[in-house]
């Protein structure tokens, strides 16, 4: 047994060291930068000046930050809720029909496998006011949006969320489906004998049993949404104005367009903290380990 411990330590050590040096130390360096005044173009790294929480105060006083935070929040709530709702519906439907994964589940998952950048471009194309198919359909339905969906302050973010929902709902659906397939049969039989109807079974048995799977799905989606960048970059570039800027995008702009990496690092630390907090919150709320 002693020898086993040595074996496992020996084989896993290179991986652990590598992951620490490529992830943990860089994060520490970013945190370190966030307490300094540092412009990548103007200041050499040896000349950076410690300003304590200065960068964070700058951020929290800036309306840009709160605008981006609000947009991130809207994106998170609308995206996750809609994707979960539709995803659950699709999963239940597929489960009823086929009881298992098949060609339908493979096909439906294709959008989630595509590069987000390609999806962003495709949706930008389809939302194009002159020859986009969505704008054509909307105008056929009698809905006219000034400057088209992505060019309008109040709908630009919704357009991006729409593309996100299209891309990730199938993924949620298939994850939930895999959970459904693995559920035990006994509780359902018992409920049916006791005379429960479909809706009661869904809310009282299926959903509670699916909790761990739902947690995984929500976690993955939330982390993905907070770091969403590609689609916004090509669909609106945060515009019009800053109407569709999320935190991640503002951070990119400050770091790599303004090269103001002190403030930028503080932004990044805030984003990372949000991801961690959200994950912990979801774990605490949903992941009740009953085994």
């Amino acid at each position: 047994m002693k020898q086993n411990n040595k074996f496992y330590a020996l084989i896993s050590l290179p991986g652990i060291i590598y992951l620490l040096s490529i992830v943990l130390f860089p994060i520490i360096f970013t945190v370190y930068l966030s307490f300094h005044k540092y412009n990548f173009i103007e200041t050499p790294l040896s000349n950076i000046r410690w300003i304590g929480l200065g960068n964070y105060i700058t951020i929290f006083k800036d309306t840009t930050f709160w605008n981006s935070a609000l947009n991130t929040g809207i994106y998170l709530v609308v995206g996750v809720v809609v994707e979960l709702a539709i995803g659950l519906g699709i999963a239940l439907l597929i489960f009823r029909l086929f009881k298992n994964q098949n060609i339908v589940t493979s096909l439906i998952l294709l959008p989630s496998m595509m590069a987000p950048i390609v999806i962003g471009l495709v949706f930008r194309f389809m939302f194009n006011p002159q020859f986009g198919v969505f704008d054509f359909l909307l105008s056929k339905m009698g809905i006219v949006i000034e400057n088209s969906v992505l060019g309008n302050r109040s709908t630009a973010l919704l357009g991006i969320i729409f593309a996100d929902i299209w891309q990730w709902t199938p993924f949620i659906a298939i994850i939930i489906l895999s959970g459904l397939i693995a559920l035990p049969h006994e509780p359902f039989e018992a409920a049916r004998i006791d005379g429960a109807n479909g809706f009661e079974i869904l809310t009282n048995i299926t959903l509670p049993l699916l909790r761990p799977v739902l947690t995984v799905a929500i976690l993955i989606r939330m982390a993905d949404i907070v770091r969403e960048f590609d689609k916004i970059f090509v669909m609106t570039y945060g515009g019009p104005g800053a109407a569709s800027e999320v935190l991640n995008f503002t951070a990119y702009r400050i770091n790599y367009i303004n090269f103001d990496m002190g403030v930028g690092s503080a932004y990044v630390v805030v984003i990372f903290a949000i991801v961690i907090l959200l994950s912990v919150a979801v774990f605490k709320t949903f992941y009740v380990n009953e085994f």
Binding site: M113, A115, F136, T169, R227, D230, F233, G264, V268, F272
Partner: protein, 277 residues
């Protein structure tokens, strides 16, 4: 009889709903493909033309004029490099997670998960600053390192699930027969886990292939990967929609083909632990 008919109608309705759902989710992909084989005049006509003579001019242009094959080559180099690192270093780590119950395992696994969900921008800043300092910006190495962070986390996460499905008893048998720990891993466990390994490799490559942000920040003219090149079809002077769609199809086609075959492993690996199969 009446019951049977009602059942049949119900089934028909459900199948048609699924068909509509499928159509909705596949429509943009189909639309991109159709646009990519239209010439510029047909692509711009609204309402869209259903019947047209297909042309491959867009595909010819993106290779001849824009040299997309260089970007494809870059993407392949980066993806293979990141996947190789992840597999070599991640597999033993995943094996350790699956076979041991050390006290620090939980903490370590949370760290691995955090590496997976880590927003690219967090890691991009230190990498950018460090790479600029030692002159590694615009090289393959820095992008490979960046991609290996999430690829490796993904590898550990996926493979742990696959290793856990392999009964320990098989390994114990091999050891009773005189295999060392290392021999057992290579001669028994890894061969059994081959489907999982293959699926992990495929999805690592896809993750790296699809990444835009690291590549945007860390690559230059010579090392630009495919997604960055695709993003550059967006110019202030106008859009080359036909070419853009063609490049999109090129970037998407291999992903779609591979994922069609390996998806079931992806879901199985990712939800392992959350799903009691």
């Amino acid at each position: 009889m009446d019951y049977r008919r009602r059942k049949a109608i119900q089934k028909f309705l459900q199948v048609s709903v699924i068909a509509i759902v499928l159509l909705v989710f596949l429509f943009p992909i189909i639309w991109t493909f159709i646009t990519s084989i239209k010439d510029n005049v047909t692509a711009w006509s609204m309402p869209p033309k259903i019947f047209f003579s297909p042309s491959i001019s867009n595909y010819v242009e993106i290779f001849k004029e824009r040299g997309l094959h260089h970007n494809i080559k870059n993407s392949i180099i980066v993806a293979l490099g990141a996947t190789a690192i992840s597999l070599v270093l991640g597999t033993p780590l995943a094996y350790m997670f699956a076979r041991t119950r050390y006290r620090f395992n939980n903490f370590l696994f949370i760290f691995v998960f955090a590496s997976y969900i880590l927003p690219p921008i967090v890691l991009s800043i230190p990498l950018y600053v460090a790479a600029a300092r030692v002159g590694l910006l615009n090289t393959y190495l820095v992008v490979i390192l960046a991609h290996s962070s999430f690829c490796m986390a993904f590898t550990v996460w996926m493979l742990r699930g696959f290793f856990e499905e392999i009964p320990v008893e098989i390994e114990e048998c091999a050891m009773v027969d005189g295999c060392s720990n290392l021999m057992t891993l290579f001669k028994v466990t890894l061969p059994i886990a081959t489907p999982g390994l293959v699926a992990t490799v495929i999805f690592c490559i896809i993750l790296s292939w699809n990444d835009f942000m690291y590549a945007l920040v860390l690559t230059g003219m010579d090392t630009r990967t495919l997604p960055v090149a695709v993003g550059q079809f967006l110019t202030p002077h106008g859009m080359f929609w036909g070419q853009m769609c063609a490049a999109g199809v090129i970037a998407t086609a291999p992903v779609l083909v591979f994922s069609l075959f390996f998806q079931r492993y992806l879901i199985r690996g990712m939800t392992a632990g959350a799903v009691k199969g």
